[in-house]
């Protein structure tokens, strides 16, 4: 047994971040732009997570929704579902929240460079994958064909409206979207996210794929990808679990011998497909 971990650092002690901007995106989600209070640059990789918190309430794990190509600030989206997220969503520009991280393993960007990329995001799964989407858009020359599939339950739950508007008309990304339940104004696709594959005749089998969405979504999307002979080695899933401590100790996010907070949240599908509780 040998050890390389830092013995001086307290892994449970957060740092303060100042909220530069807070905007409500939907009835449940608030979008925060933050900067570390000590003016240090927050260094992270697309797909990594943080424990965002507020003393007196607690901490919750969140995937970074900005790309490290954007200097000077970073972004998080909080969905109001419980005590901590409700307290965080009440924060305004100028307020402080605490940040621990970045934590875990993100997307292996170097494996995506020079390849076709397909990102499949369902609902709030767009938030962590946006870190990679924006990375690719900012360094577009480094990647080949880029397809993005996004599915939401209803038009009222569409996230990042400005981004969506841009992606819809950009030639840098082949963006397809759908909603499960349309409203009167919706003129786009209707149906679950897998129906978007009907519009894709061909995918290069070497395409690098990212999937993030509600737990039920993964196996159906993976079944679609098999039809295009995409290697399981090239599929990356971004998983959600109860990552309470974020540092591989508390046990809540454990899937067999893997800790989602530390070994993930991004996993290569071929590495976890045999872990019964993973997908």
């Amino acid at each position: 047994m040998s050890c390389s971990s830092n013995h001086d650092k307290n892994i449970f002690l957060p740092k303060n971040a100042i909220i530069r901007k807070a905007s409500q995106m939907t009835a449940f989600e608030t979008h925060f732009t933050l900067k570390m209070e000590d003016e240090s640059e927050f260094i992270y990789e697309p797909g990594q997570i943080v424990e965002a918190g507020l003393f007196g309430y607690g901490e919750i794990p969140l995937g970074l929704s900005s790309s490290p190509t954007q200097q000077g600030s970073f972004e998080l989206v909080v969905r109001e579902v419980g005590k901590v997220s409700k307290a965080l969503c009440a924060l305004k520009a100028g307020d402080t929240m605490t940040i621990r991280g970045p934590l875990g393993k993100g997307f292996p960007v170097s494996e995506f460079v020079g390849q076709d990329v397909l990102i499949v995001a369902g609902g709030i799964g767009l938030c962590p994958t946006r870190s990679m989407i924006r990375y690719i858009m900012d360094r577009r020359d480094e990647f080949k064909d880029f397809k993005l599939l996004f599915g939401a339950r209803s038009p009222d739950e569409l996230l990042f409206e400005d981004d969506l508007a841009y992606w819809r008309c950009s030639s840098d990304v082949n963006y397809l979207e759908t909603v499960d339940k349309p409203n009167d104004r919706w003129k786009g696709n209707i149906g679950v996210i897998t129906t978007l594959f009907e519009g894709i005749d061909h995918l290069d089998p070497a395409t690098r794929v990212i999937i993030c969405g509600p737990p039920i979504m993964y196996k159906f999307v993976i079944a679609q990808l098999a039809k295009y002979n995409i290697s399981e080695h090239h599929i990356f899933v971004d998983l959600e679990r109860r990552m309470k401590c974020g540092v591989g100790k508390c046990g809540h996010c454990q899937i067999n011998d893997k800790y989602v907070c530390m070994d993930g949240p991004v996993f290569r599908y071929s590495d976890i497909k045999d872990l019964e509780e993973a997908i």
Binding site: F55, Y57, T96, E240, Q254
Partner: protein, 340 residues
């Protein structure tokens, strides 16, 4: 390693000197069972204990441990380890402590655990009486008993004392330690071998055989059958010397400007352990009793083996003895699967 003899008559003086030096936590009687408590007098010491209700992990990770205090937007870590002596730890619990040492060190160093651990001197002692459910003689043989500072084995007229570290050395002036004979060393070795052999319960296979076969039975209906009477109370987790899962909570003081963040023991057998809040409800990644039951056994027999060098079970038998529904005994579950 240095070896000495400490006579029965000299044990009292040694322990009394230790108590005068720093808090000593040792097995004492509590009704019909035993607990590790702070020793007020050597008369309370029960080195003849079978096992304690809770393992000594509570000294390194208290059931509720403050992590951070906060006040008016400022916060600071709560680290105040006090020097102490943990006396009379059985070999299986020493193995568990060495596993906990590693778990709290690898990848991300847990300063709260290790500051308490560093401040503690561990004196082990041999098993003089067996707990009715103990099976330590047939499990986790890959791991050596290590990480302690001193070890006492009861032999005729006294104890064979092994001094293993500098911390152990530092205690030598506190007792009348005398030379030991080769025969006494052999007698002590025999005592410890017999303690292993005389366990009332036994696994029939090696850790490696168990690891592979249990893993193959992941989808077996044995989990559902075995867990039918499980109350999901988590008692098996709480008394386990190698369970370390915890929850983190914030708590306000009476005035809403200050408070603390603490962690407390948690249990993977409880329903809400793997639950996450989602919009309009919750998602539970281990919703069924059988899944949680399987997770515990898998975690003890196979998930952590590569990390620890052996199974995360030391055979103390506490889970088996504490389970109200009498379904937690790893020996019964493992042997049943191995016989299939």
């Amino acid at each position: 390693m240095k070896t000495f003899f400490l006579s029965d008559g000299d044990l009292d003086e040694f322990v009394t000197n230790l108590i005068a030096k720093s808090p000593v936590f040792a097995p004492v009687a509590k009704k019909t069972r035993f607990v590790f408590n702070q020793l007020e007098s050597v008369e309370d010491l029960r080195l003849d204990y079978d096992t304690t209700i809770l393992p000594p992990k509570k000294l390194f990770v208290p059931t509720k441990q403050d992590l951070v205090t906060f006040e008016h937007g400022k916060y600071e870590e709560c680290l105040a380890p006090g020097k102490k002596i943990l006396f009379g730890v059985h070999p299986y619990d020493i193995k568990a402590i060495s596993m906990m040492d590693w778990i709290h060190e690898e990848s991300n160093f847990d300063i709260y655990y290790h500051s308490n651990r560093k401040a503690t001197t561990i004196i082990g002692s041999n098993v003089q009486n067996h707990y009715k459910k103990a099976f330590f003689g047939s499990v986790c043989k890959e791991l050596k008993v290590m990480g302690h500072d001193m070890f006492l084995t009861k032999i005729a007229d006294g104890y064979l004392v092994e001094v293993l570290t500098k911390k152990g050395d530092d205690l030598l002036p506190d007792g009348n330690f005398t030379d030991v004979s080769k025969e006494q060393i052999k007698n002590a070795a025999d005592v410890n071998t017999k303690a292993d052999e005389n366990c009332p319960s036994k696994l029939k296979n090696t850790s490696l055989e168990i690891k592979h076969k249990i893993r193959m039975y992941y989808d077996s209906d044995v989990w559902k059958k075995k867990s039918e009477n499980c109350f999901s109370c988590g008692s098996c987790n709480i008394v386990c010397p190698t369970c370390y899962c915890f929850d983190i909570q914030d708590e306000w003081a009476l005035e809403p400007t200050s408070g603390k963040r603490y962690r407390r023991w948690d249990a993977c057998l409880t329903c809400e352990f793997s639950e996450v809040s989602v919009q309009g409800g919750s998602e539970n990644f281990r919703e069924e009793r059988a899944e949680r039951f399987r997770h515990r056994i898998m975690r003890k027999t196979s998930f952590l083996n590569d990390k620890l060098g052996g199974p995360a079970c030391v055979g103390c038998g506490r889970c088996s003895g504490t389970c109200t529904a009498d379904i937690a005994d790893p020996v019964s579950i493992i042997n049943e699967i191995m016989e299939k």
